[in-house]
């Protein structure tokens, strides 16, 4: 497993009676691609992380947690030097986890974990929202749906011009039909963006860009962030992207987790992401340790690491990872009615 001491944040997530996740655990790597059928727990995993972030920012609760034993619970452990901490999300129902209990001998350590968790971000990018103009001041972090993309671009260009320039150069390499990012004031303190094109043509306004171009720009904004979150969760990373471009999308995300490989000088970001594309899965042939398969059997779901499949080398002689997933050999497929 690709584990660099002390760089990723969350070590394991253990689910107990939470929706379909009756009794399963997942050891997270630095980079995690989660695949599986709808309703198998991919989104539950990301929601649990989001809720951990939210509740971790409140003062810690007391022993009231004990009285809820037997109900749904999600427990988290953390990587060294925080491996002594266990954080438990208590849930009043399948859909509401509203209590956090932390077992920790050392309060200072928890405060450090809390600081890192505060930066955790989850994304389900929405191209319609991303194309809108946004309030210039609303630029601290990219919103969950990417809705303030224009404001974040404007702030990045102003506050981190070098990072902006590198991100723009990467965008133009990936989408060579464009010549630059154009940011303009809109009415009412709002800002909007377009992408310039060659020749005398008018720049293409955000609302006229393809979905794929908007998603790609959103991912680039995240991966070229000079001060990124400690943990980033992104759903459906393959949307709107040509299958031959998926390697590039993978690399945009790898930049977050493996900054050194991409010439970045900052801490690695723990990434948890999902896809339904067999072609995206093909990009992980050399790194099966980064792939998590959610298996659904009846009303119960569990997580498996692809690298735990002992017959993987033989399977890869007979087909690509994507083919094997689609065929059902790897599991992680919808059940037949």
């Amino acid at each position: 497993m690709n584990r660099v001491q002390g760089v990723d944040v969350i070590d394991t997530v253990v689910f107990h009676n939470f929706k379909a996740l009756r009794n399963t655990s997942l050891r997270l790597s630095l980079f995690n691609l989660v695949i599986g059928p709808n309703g198998s727990g991919k989104t539950s995993l990301i929601q649990a992380l989001q809720q951990l972030r939210t509740l971790s920012q409140f003062p810690l609760g007391d022993a009231a947690m004990q009285s809820r034993s037997g109900g749904p619970e999600i427990a988290f452990t953390f990587t060294a030097p925080y491996s002594g901490i266990v954080a438990r999300l208590g849930c009043t129902s399948d859909v509401l986890c509203d209590f956090l209990h932390v077992d920790c001998l050392d309060t200072a350590s928890w405060l450090e974990v809390k600081c890192r968790l505060a930066t955790l971000r989850t994304y389900v990018l929405d191209h319609d929202a991303m194309a809108q103009s946004s309030v210039r001041a609303d630029s601290a972090v990219l919103e969950s749906n990417g809705g303030n993309l224009a404001a974040v671009l404007a702030a990045r260009q102003h506050e981190a011009p070098l990072a902006f320039a590198r991100m723009e150069a990467e965008l133009l390499r990936l989408l060579p039909e464009f010549t630059g990012i154009v940011i303009e004031d809109d009415s009412g303190g709002r800002v909007r963006f377009s992408l310039g094109i060659d020749g005398a043509g008018e720049p293409v306004r955000a609302e006229n860009l393809s979905q794929g171009a908007l998603y790609l720009l959103g991912l680039l904004v995240l991966s070229f962030d000079p001060t990124p979150p400690a943990v980033v969760c992104i759903e459906e990373i393959d949307r709107g992207v040509h299958p031959r471009m998926l390697r590039e999308v993978r690399d945009v995300l790898y930049r977050l987790s493996y900054p050194e490989s991409f010439g970045e000088k900052r801490e690695p970001v723990q990434v948890i992401t999902t896809t339904h594309s067999p072609y995206m899965l093909d990009q992980f042939r050399d790194h099966p340790d980064e792939v998590v398969i959610t298996q659904k059997l009846g009303h119960e779901a569990r997580f498996e690491r692809l690298s735990d499949r002992l017959d993987l080398p033989e399977l890869l002689r007979e087909g690509t990872l994507g083919d094997m997933w689609f065929s059902g050999v790897l599991g992680g497929v919808p059940e037949q009615q």
Binding site: R173, R247, E260, H287
Partner: protein, 209 residues
Amino acid sequence: MKVAFLSESPADEAVLRVLVDAILGEPAQITPAGFRARGWPNVLQVLPAVIRHLHFNTDVETLVVTCDSDDSPVHTEAHEAPQYYHPHCRMCQLRAVFRQTSKRFPIAHGRLKVRRVVGVAVPALEAWLLCGRDSDVSEGAWINGQLAGRPPYTRAELKFRIYQTERPSLPHEIECALRETERHRRDLRRLEYDFPGFAALMKDLKSPA
């Protein structure tokens, strides 16, 4: 010569373009979008369609197909015997697909069939790139390792030696690959000698259609 490529990645194709030009001694005319397979055995699956498409719908003269051998049996001199076919050797398999697919083709665009050019990199294209730089890397070394049950290096190690990371970005991969290819572009003899899977490609490319 009008040449099309079927390869596993844009980086592989970039290398092959340089090598093919070096073998021909002049720039080939290359089809704009290279054909791509998603690794083995997808190469085998798409190859018949690519051959038929090129034969009937284009005037391309030559199709260059390359793949990595990974841990499959390496094509040896013994496989060259008439009628010999090794069912797990990728060179034998790819050549058989060419043979079977174009067996009863009518003349189209003034030619009987598209020239077959097959190369198999043992165990991966990165070994070709390291040839002449890292003296322990050769097809013979790999075969000896297979016989001894102890491979001399892994795919991942070869990649790391070139890219200095297990996860190169595509531009970095292409840049490093082309830098190493430059040595071969100037002089192909070492690559031809140390890698029969490349020598076979050279021979195919120089053969009459």
